[in-house]
Each structure stands twice: as structure tokens, then as C-alpha cells.
């Protein structure tokens, strides 16, 4: 039960009940759909990126398990105002946190952000669920790169 409590922390359950930025902004200029064919989880990420490469708005929509929804919701909060390069760096660090006990933290990632994302690191104890946690991030990364669709398989 301890592992389960670490996975399903209150913060995660709260994000599931009250997801942040679950909407479709009219002025978004990058979009991507992510899909996990094993479980059917689907997420759409909308970004509004300005000429300087700053993410001015980020939102999501989708259906899925608690882990994938909470991860998408948390991600939107963290990416608001970041540059595309920062978003990519954060994704790398997040992936490390989801898979390793001793993750390598990229330079320039601030401690508050790390603390907030760390609530999802319990997923490392559940290897079958890592894709749920990273689906939104993979999709965001595809949107940044100008790809419209990704699949985690």
C-alpha cells in the first residue's frame, strides 16, 4: 500500500478532480495529439508560442487514467512562460525522475519546479505506468517540433 500511496498522492488526486488548463485556447498555434495504443489514453496539447520561442499559453484535453491526467495538468502549470528550450530540458529531467531512483537533474531547472513535479516520481516503482506519466510530455515535445501526432508505441 505504501507504493500505492506514493503513486496516488493527494496532489495527484486533486489534479484529477480539478485539472488545470483543461481547455482549447482559440489562439494556440501548435497542437499535437498523443495516444497510448495499449490503454487507449489520448491527450491533445495546445501551445501558443511567440516569436521569441516563449510558451505564452499551454492547455490540454483528453481522456485517460489518473496518472496521465494529473501529469498533463501539472505540466501545463510548469510550462507557462518557459521557452521551448527550457520545456525540452524539463522534459528530460522529468523522464529521469519517472524512471530512476537517482535522477540526473538538468542545469537551470529550479528547485520549486522539481518539487512540484516530484509528486509523479512514484511512477518509477510502476514500470508499466511510466508511459502514462510521460504521454503529455511526449505530446508537448511533438507539438514544439511541429509534429501533429505521436504514439507511445
Amino acid at each position: 500500500m505504501d507504493d500505492l500511496r506514493e503513486l496516488y498522492q493527494e496532489v495527484i488526486l486533486e489534479h484529477v478532480k480539478n485539472p488545470r488548463n483543461k481547455r482549447t485556447p482559440a489562439d494556440a498555434n501548435r497542437h499535437a495529439q498523443g495516444h497510448n495504443p495499449i490503454c487507449g489514453d489520448a491527450v491533445t496539447i495546445h501551445l501558443k508560442v511567440n516569436g521569441q520561442g516563449v510558451i505564452e499559453d499551454v492547455a490540454f484535453d483528453g481522456k485517460g487514467c489518473a496518472i496521465s491526467l494529473a501529469s498533463a495538468s501539472l505540466m501545463t502549470e510548469e510550462l507557462m512562460g518557459k521557452t521551448e528550450v527550457q520545456a525540452k530540458t524539463l522534459f528530460q529531467t522529468f523522464q529521469e525522475m519517472c524512471t530512476k531512483d537517482d535522477p540526473e537533474i538538468a542545469q537551470g531547472v529550479d528547485d520549486d519546479t522539481l518539487d512540484r513535479l516530484r509528486v509523479l516520481s512514484g511512477v518509477r516503482l510502476f514500470p508499466m505506468r511510466v508511459k502514462c506519466a510521460t504521454l503529455a510530455w511526449h505530446t508537448m515535445s511533438a507539438a514544439v517540433a511541429g509534429k501533429n501526432q505521436i504514439s507511445t508505441e
Binding site: 496516488y8 488526486l13 490503454c39 485517460g64 487514467c65
Partner: protein, 424 residues
């Protein structure tokens, strides 16, 4: 070969054989059931995905490798003869298991999926063209959808889909209305893998035959739970897979009426399937060998034979009664858990219980019950069109096998209580 492997646990004879089904003795035959996961005893409720194997199957296969193994239908030597006898003996057992008229009507494939693809390819080649219609149902597994879609791309055939009602019942009247002058094949499941619905396949076949339309039945989820009689059904083709009837992986079964099989072209070319080969012209053997190019799954067939001996030794009616009792119990127990909604409540069902919970996604359910040692399947069950019809993205599915007990169901129900606790 089976003399040395020990006989399957027999039911204890009593006034009522169903009640006398000795599940404790059955469980002792399955080595994996003594495993623990996360320190908890394994509660295996995922037999519809793949069933566990009794010692008798494992030993028959090991013994085959250790004492009577060679390639089949080739050597004049003693080992080849023994292996051929054991392999063809497996075919005889399968024929008897399905009540086929002859072992020549049993084609071995890699799995059930390959059997579907074989029919799509070979039947499609000689019997189907642009505008011809194939009737399937909303309940189908992707294995009975995608091969026909590939054929649609290749030949321009049309796929018609029989609807179901909200409970998951196959709608016979709507089915009959779909049968028309262009219908060339009906391909429907006997039992839904996602919901457990039992389709009235006898009626399905009779209605098609009244219009001279042949029928293919997907028996993957039926064969583990009920006696299959292809002649009583008058099925033209009937497919099932070894690993779901407590046999090994790597072995699928395609039954086809002899005349229908012999009217089809070969599936793949190679050794084993030819009568004679010259560089100018090759002639092919009759069924089943025509469809079995290359070295077949020899030991898998022997293992499947042992699985059939095991299941028939326990008596299929007794297994069905045991599983039906557990299914009712599971439906009652699960319905008592806050937030649980059963998906698929057809009038006639096999021992599959699909469900969702109000606040927890099936994936989260699967992870949480796993930590209690309970294995259930979560997801779309390779039946995405069915999920869409029922307006769910996924379900959790507890599927019951002959080795399950009321205690297994209790453990699942208790684990679901903790899901409910976490998600509120």
C-alpha cells in the same frame, strides 16, 4: 504419452457433480498458482487473455522433448515416427474435442489470429470480389475485424456490422436484415472476449445457411468454457487457440469442413504442403497439410492434446457449472463495491465480468489491485469498436478460469474497496 504424465484431477463424484467439482485438487495441478506477487498469493483473474498451464501440459511437452522428438512426416527413423504419431494424435484429440467429422478438417496455425488471416486470404482469393459483403458483429475482437479491413483495401469487399443492445446482446433480427444477395461470409464470435456475451451462433448459422452463406465462428473464448460441437452447430469454419484452453502458446486451430478447405488455395508455400514439386509445376496436398507449410508446432500440438485431455477429464459441464457459480458470485460482490458498474449484462454470458468505476480509470484499478496480488486485464481488450459502442474508453475485466475460487473473488472485491478508498 499421457500415461506417464499422470492423469488430470478428476471431479469427485457425488449426487451433484457440479457441486463436487474439486477446485482444490485442480489448483494443485497448476504450479504457477503457488507463486506470490508483492508478497501476496497470486489471484489470477486474467484467463481470457491467457490461461495458466497444468503440470500435465508442461510435463507432456517436456517429455516430448526428452523422449520422442524429431521432425514429423519426414524421416523413416523411429523418432520421427514416434513424433509424427504424437503430433497426429494431437490432431485427433482436437477433432474429437470439437466433434469434427475427421482430423483432416483440423488445420494448425501459429495462433487464432493467423487462422483468421488464413481464411481472409484464401477464402478471399477464390470467393470474394469488389462489392461482396462480409458480416461481422460489434462484439468482435480486432483479430476478426482487421483481416477483413485489409481485404477491403485489397479487394473492395464491404464489411457489415451486426449491432448489439446496451446490455451487450447480439441482435438477431438486425443480423438477419443484414444478410443479402451480396453477403458471401458471416464471421462472428461465439463468446465476446470483452463482455462474455454468448452469441446464439446456432441461429446465426441457420439463418446464413438458409441463404447459402458460409459461417466462420470465433471460438477463442468459448472453447475454454463450454463443449464445442461443430457438427451440431453446422459451422463451416471454427477457430480457437491453444493457450486459452490451458494449452501452450504458439498453436491455433482452424476447423473447416473438408470440401470447403479443399476448395481453397494454399496459404503459404513451402515444405510439408506439397504433393510434388518441379520447377515447372507444383501440386499441393489436400487439407490440412495444404495449409501447414514448413515444420509445424510439433510439441505445441502435443501440449494442446494434453490440455484437451485435462479439460475433458474434468468434464466440461462441471467446469461450466463451477465457473457460472463464480461469475454470479463475482457480479454480486463487485456490484456491492461503491462506484462499480458492470459493463455487459447480456442474457447469456460466459465467465467474464467487465466493469468500470465512477472515479477510477481502469488502468488505475489494474495497478491498485495488482498490488493486492490480483491480475485483471484493463484496457480496450482489442475490441475498440465495442468500447466505443458502449461509450467507455476501457474497462477492467475479471475473467474466471477453472482454477478460480470464491476467495479469489473476495480478494478482488476487497482490493476494489481500496481503489474506492483512494479515489473516493
Amino acid at each position: 504419452m499421457n500415461d506417464a504424465t499422470g492423469s488430470a484431477a478428476k471431479i469427485v463424484r457425488g449426487d451433484n457433480s457440479a457441486q463436487a467439482f474439486d477446485v482444490a485438487r485442480v489448483r494443485a495441478d497448476f504450479p504457477i498458482l503457488s507463486q506470490t506477487v508483492y508478497g501476496r498469493p497470486l489471484v489470477y483473474l486474467d484467463s481470457a487473455a491467457s490461461a495458466q498451464k497444468p503440470r500435465q501440459v508442461i510435463e507432456a511437452m517436456t517429455q516430448s522433448y526428452e523422449t520422442c522428438y524429431a521432425n514429423v512426416h519426414r524421416g523413416v527413423h523411429r523418432m520421427s515416427q514416434l513424433a509424427t504419431d504424437a503430433f497426429e494424435g494431437g490432431r485427433e484429440k482436437v477433432a474429437k474435442f470439437m466433434n469434427a467429422g475427421s482430423a483432416d478438417e483440423i488445420v494448425f496455425t501459429r495462433n487464432a489470429t493467423e487462422a483468421f488471416n488464413l481464411i481472409a486470404s484464401c477464402f478471399g482469393q477464390v470467393h470474394l470480389g469488389t462489392g461482396d459483403e462480409i458480416v461481422i458483429s460489434t462484439l468482435e475482437h480486432h483479430a476478426n475485424i482487421v483481416p477483413w479491413q485489409l481485404l477491403r483495401e485489397r479487394l473492395g469487399v464491404v464489411i457489415r456490422v451486426v449491432p448489439i443492445d446496451d446490455q451487450g446482446n447480439f441482435l438477431l433480427d438486425e443480423y438477419e436484415a443484414l444478410l443479402g444477395p451480396r453477403t458471401k461470409l458471416v464471421a462472428v464470435t461465439h463468446v465476446s472476449n470483452a463482455l462474455g456475451t454468448v452469441v446464439p451462433v446456432k441461429r446465426v448459422i441457420d439463418l446464413a445457411h438458409a441463404r447459402n452463406i458460409p459461417v466462420l465462428i470465433d471460438g477463442c473464448q468459448a472453447a475454454p468454457h463450454m463443449a464445442i460441437d461443430v457438427r451440431a452447430l453446422n459451422a463451416d469454419f471454427y477457430i480457437f487457440t491453444g493457450h486459452k484452453v490451458y494449452g501452450p502458446t504458439g498453436i491455433g486451430v482452424l476447423y473447416g469442413k473438408r470440401d470447403l478447405l479443399n476448395a481453397l488455395p494454399p496459404y503459404q508455400g513451402g515444405g510439408e504442403m506439397i504433393a510434388s514439386v518441379t520447377f515447372e509445376k507444383t501440386t499441393f496436398k489436400e487439407a490440412p497439410h495444404r495449409f501447414e507449410a514448413g515444420t509445424p508446432p510439433i510439441v505445441e500440438v502435443i501440449g494442446l492434446g494434453a490440455a484437451i485431455d485435462y479439460v475433458t477429464g474434468l468434464e466440461q459441464d462441471a467446469i461450466a457449472a463451477h465457473e457460472a457459480g463464480l461469475r454470479s458470485y463475482a457480479e454480486e460482490r463487485l456490484s456491492g463495491v461503491r462506484g462499480v458498474r458492470l459493463i455487459g449484462t447480456a442474457k447469456e454470458k460466459a465467465s467474464i465480468v467487465s466493469f468500470v468505476m465512477d472515479n477510477a480509470h481502469p488502468h488505475d484499478i489494474g495497478t491498485i489491485v495488482d498490488r493486492a496480488g490480483v491480475a485483471v486485464r484493463t484496457g480496450h481488450h482489442c475490441a475498440q469498436p465495442l468500447m466505443e459502442r458502449l461509450d467507455v474508453t476501457a474497462t477492467a475485466r475479471a475473467s474466471i478460469g477453472l482454477y478460480n475460487t470464491r476467495a479469489d473473488i473476495d480478494t478482488l472485491a476487497e482490493a476494489l474497496e481500496s481503489v474506492s478508498e483512494i479515489f473516493g
